[in-house]
């Protein structure tokens, strides 16, 4: 029997960040349980971008605070090899008057929260991305401090820092069941039994399964998203280019490769991480149309991952009402990686009963029963 103060289920960037922030605040008796290897779920399959340009106040603030942390994360966590950070902006393309209206509304909100983003005309967009096809483009928004970081490195940096503070990380340890007796939770895995008064569900696309083990119905469903990466070439594309109209994003990493992905509104809500040839040709068609310079770049690999989708595309953060000591940090709906520094900090503050750096009450699971949803409009 392994007895701890806190057990975190899920070794993605969220789980590792929560573990680090708990330990850093003095709660060092923490175990992280990961069914495969660290980053094997959504973290290691994601698009690796971060942006300030959101359509709700909460996401703008989470992103602003989190990105400020990413900018200095290698120093904060003493991770000398660095997290491959790049800040050359996100260019969000608008093709319809409705989109332009929403984007301008978002810009006003972002400005009020101290985020430096601006409207750019198609001509100005071509100054930022010279080979951009501007056919049909009404304009775009641009925030120069958006960018890219390597999810494997960020997670590794958090995991190493957490381990140095005493956190135990158990990989290839899959949670099979959870029993609650009084305040004590017993977590049964394929590699033994773990006990703690506090359990955190940071299981991403598996969060609902973990919830069911304690009789909690989490409205979080896995949704497949596909992605590909090319061979590395010389740096030609500064910003992430994102189009909600085409449901696509494309960014060149500091390594030189291009990462690009598509969302499919008709994707069934099921756990599926297999890639499809249909994605490959659709992605190629849209990417070559939008960024013709990519036509001679070779695709080396494609894969898929799942978003942990919540009904309002916002995460569930906090203690589950009626199950004291059982916390959830899931439902990130495709933007868990970029806010992970703040997720970790806020969850640690909530668990330790400290005042929170940003308001978190609106992320409570209870919003789905009271109807206080706050839909994020800007998601691919």
């Amino acid at each position: 029997m392994n007895r701890h103060e806190v057990i975190i289920i899920g070794g993605g960037v969220t789980g590792c960040s929560i573990a680090y922030h708990l330990a850093e605040r003095g709660m060092r008796d923490v175990a992280v349980l990961e069914r495969a290897y660290l980053t094997s779920g959504a973290t290691g399959r994601c698009g690796a971008g971060f942006r300030h340009q959101w359509g709700t106040k909460t996401n703008c603030l989470l992103a602003r605070y989190a990105i400020a942390r990413l900018e200095h994360l290698a120093e904060e966590l003493d991770y000398p090899e660095g997290i491959e950070i790049k800040q050359e902006g996100y260019l969000l393309l608008a093709y319809t008057p409705k989109m332009e209206e929403q984007f301008k509304k978002n810009l006003a909100l972002q400005k009020s929260l101290g985020i430096d983003a601006r409207w750019v005309t198609p001509r100005e967009a071509r100054e930022i991305v010279p080979f951009l096809n501007t056919e049909g483009l009404l304009g775009a928004t641009f925030c120069p401090k958006d960018g890219h970081a390597n999810p494997f490195k960020v997670t590794d940096a958090y995991a190493r820092a957490a381990r140095r503070l005493g956190v135990k990380i158990h990989t290839y340890t899959e949670v099979r069941d959870i029993k609650i007796e009084g305040s004590l939770k017993t977590v049964i895995t394929n590699r033994g039994t773990f006990q703690a008064p506090v359990v955190v569900n940071a299981a991403g696309g598996h969060a609902a399964e973990i919830g069911r083990m304690v009789g909690v119905d989490l409205p979080i469903v896995p949704e497949r998203h596909q992605i590909l990466v090319t061979e590395p070439v010389e740096q030609v594309l500064g910003p992430m280019v994102m189009s909600f109209y085409h449901n696509l994003y494309c960014q060149q990493t500091p390594h030189g490769s291009f990462i690009m992905g598509l969302g499919d509104p008709n994707e069934p809500k099921e756990y599926n991480v297999r890639s499809s040839w249909q994605f490959l040709t659709q992605m190629a068609r849209k990417a070559v149309w939008l960024l013709p310079v990519l036509k001679n770049v070779r695709v080396v690999r494609q894969w898929a991952g799942v978003y942990d989708m919540s009904p309002d595309r916002q995460p569930v953060l906090g203690e589950v009402p009626g199950v004291p000591g059982f916390y959830v940090a899931a439902g990130f709906s495709g933007h868990g990686f970029m806010i992970a520094p703040m997720t970790g900090q806020l969850m640690a503050e909530v668990i330790l009963g400290l005042p929170t750096t940003l308001p978190v009450d609106m992320f409570s699971l209870s919003r789905f029963t009271t109807g206080e949803l706050f839909v994020e409009p800007s998601v691919v």
């Binding site: 190629a284 070559v288 695709v299």
Partner: protein, 94 residues
């Protein structure tokens, strides 16, 4: 093999780096791939995979035949986006 021997030619990863990753706790090809990029290049790990598997087995006392292999991901060979965009028709035939 020497420490400076290049194990992954696509991503320039040396034996020394692989040994360091294993010494720091990596036990599977998947973990090493994600931290060091070996196996993420155009050859998809055809060169480095067996070499790394052998090194993990040697350093950790595991049976190489029992090591889990990373998923082999499509495409099998690198393909130009332009060719894919034309439904698989290469340049010279377009």
């Amino acid at each position: 093999m020497e420490d400076k021997t290049i194990i992954c030619r696509c991503e320039d990863v040396t034996l020394e780096e692989i040994r360091k990753a294993i010494a720091e706790g990596a036990r599977t090809l998947d973990e090493i791939k994600r931290l060091k990029r070996c196996g993420m290049g155009p050859c998809q790990g055809r060169t480095c995979r067996p070499l790394i598997a052998g090194e993990i087995a040697r350093m950790t006392g595991q049976n190489p035949a029992e090591l889990a292999l990373p998923t082999f991901r499509p495409p099998v060979v690198p393909l130009k986006l332009g060719t894919l965009a034309r439904g698989g028709v290469p340049d010279e035939q377009a």
